[in-house]
Symmetry: C2
Subunit: 367 residues, 2 copies
Amino acid sequence: MPDATKYFDLPSPFAMKRGGALTGARLAYETWGTLDAGRDNAILILTGLSPSAHAAANAQDPTPGWWEEMLGPGKPIDTRRWFVVCVNSLGSCKGSTGPASIDPATGKVYKLTFPELTLEDVGNAAFALLHGLGIDRLACLIGNSMGGMSALGWLLHHPGSVRAHISISTAPQAQPFAIAIRSLQREAIRLDPNWNNGNYDDAHYPETGMSIARKLGVITYRSAMEWVGRFARIRLDAETRPGDDPFGVEFQVESYLAGHARRFVRSFDPNCYLYLSRASDWFDIAEYGDGDADAALARIEVERALVIGVSTDILFPLSQQQQIAAGLTAAGAKVDFVPLDSPQGHDAFLVDIPRFGAAIAAFLAAL
Amino acid sequence: MPDATKYFDLPSPFAMKRGGALTGARLAYETWGTLDAGRDNAILILTGLSPSAHAAANAQDPTPGWWEEMLGPGKPIDTRRWFVVCVNSLGSCKGSTGPASIDPATGKVYKLTFPELTLEDVGNAAFALLHGLGIDRLACLIGNSMGGMSALGWLLHHPGSVRAHISISTAPQAQPFAIAIRSLQREAIRLDPNWNNGNYDDAHYPETGMSIARKLGVITYRSAMEWVGRFARIRLDAETRPGDDPFGVEFQVESYLAGHARRFVRSFDPNCYLYLSRASDWFDIAEYGDGDADAALARIEVERALVIGVSTDILFPLSQQQQIAAGLTAAGAKVDFVPLDSPQGHDAFLVDIPRFGAAIAAFLAAL
């Protein structure tokens, strides 16, 4: 199987924000393009909750990545000009150290003994990688969704390390609607008897809980408007309806959700999901502004910023993108705020490449 | 315990839309005010999925009802003028016959042997009650949420039986976002091992599934905007946080959802929930317009209509209320369309009595 993953050993011990430290931890990452001699053409991408570092195909792994149309030669993030790094978040399970990794102190999987994880830890670990790559200053730090929160944490902890910032469909602090959704996702996993307080294995895996969590995620990642056009009230053909369950899948939208859940359930570790989900709820930039999120944003040091949001996003509403744009403007940055009418909701940055790509390409071209 | 419930024996057999018939079925209902000699001052209310017929206090039961501030002497639905009937939906578990009732043919609880239920059946049963009360024509038929869909079904099946109609936060057909949410609620119940294919009892009750379903309901019944103001990021005091569960309730919004779930779980029958939820997904007025919802709406015969919707409602979006208003106008009715900016989302009709009450009072005063 082709694999472009590289690994970076984090400084050991690696101190965590809420206490404790990791020993022998590492980050998985991938790169595209070439770092130039001045080391000033680097872009780093912090991802949403579930993606790996494989954002796009590269020489070592030609399989398409999760942002395939955005990243590559001649694409909006043009790898002929930029040296691009994408990091699998600390706490995830796609190569970076997290709750599914072996604790070197015990030789056993961390599970719930993994220290409490915050998005600041995710940002700090990625910053350590940047340092390890011998790069003092990023040309641009990009954060999507959860990665956008990690990026804000990075910017506050490491002033001067980033020249330009692209903030996409994210939040300066978790709002109660998003907390409620994520809390319910975590509850569905934890209530699955197979979760067993984090002590599941492949034979006893919380498939039900993960499936409900994923479906709820997909519902909130997309938009009602998109689905009216896409699914309407189309029913599955009688012959493709599974079994004779009177309450089973009948409409195409139900089958779509089931497909998403099926592809996700075994590919993401449930404990890692719980840790990253809780970290998202905890994130609150107001901590850096004496309880005032705007004051915290105004402390961020970047020269230029692009802030993109989507009007149909119910999880990270446009109002929060406006708040980030206003805060970075108050901080003295030259800010492009691009509100988009993409119908796809929160996930638009993954699929509405025409709109997002144009905004990102134009911003990067002017750097 | 005070009880104002009255019972109406449905014609037996009572034929169901999708096949089968009920024998010896009944409806629970309550009334307020006095039917006048001309029998032309009757208002009938069809409810959302979970409420009982106890919409408000009355002489037999002074406990507050689910629409207490809307209904009573001097209130927006003024019971000094109107004779008001509220019906517990067929298929529910608050006195009307449903999956939790005894099947007289077997002497056992129906459970999943209850015939497939549609909202047209709910409307037809309520129409039979009206007939049983000796009323030929309603002054006004009011439907909220699911009850609004049942009302549209009624209006198409029984032309001439209603003079005026109040349609509140409902839909001419279930859209895929609402279907997705309800499908996931049903799945959470069905995946609870205690559901046991409908064969639970009090000792083995699908509490987990019902709790997840209710929390998801509450999340979609309210609005993100309301919650920013109401809960923000307020945390529970350490001493009121239950146990030392690292993923347990921490934010006030989580505790709010838990409270809602706790109050609901044992008070509503899970099989009835499944039947009514699926009936909502099935509802599609386009069946009465050769596949065209607008054509079906244009067939409805009422003289006047009030259509109210809320801009923050994500489950029954304002666009669907606009569609109903336009359709009834095309049908020749004099229609008042009242879009409201209530922050409370779909539930606004239950709690934003100032806005809803004013609209309803003005409409009824002009009848």
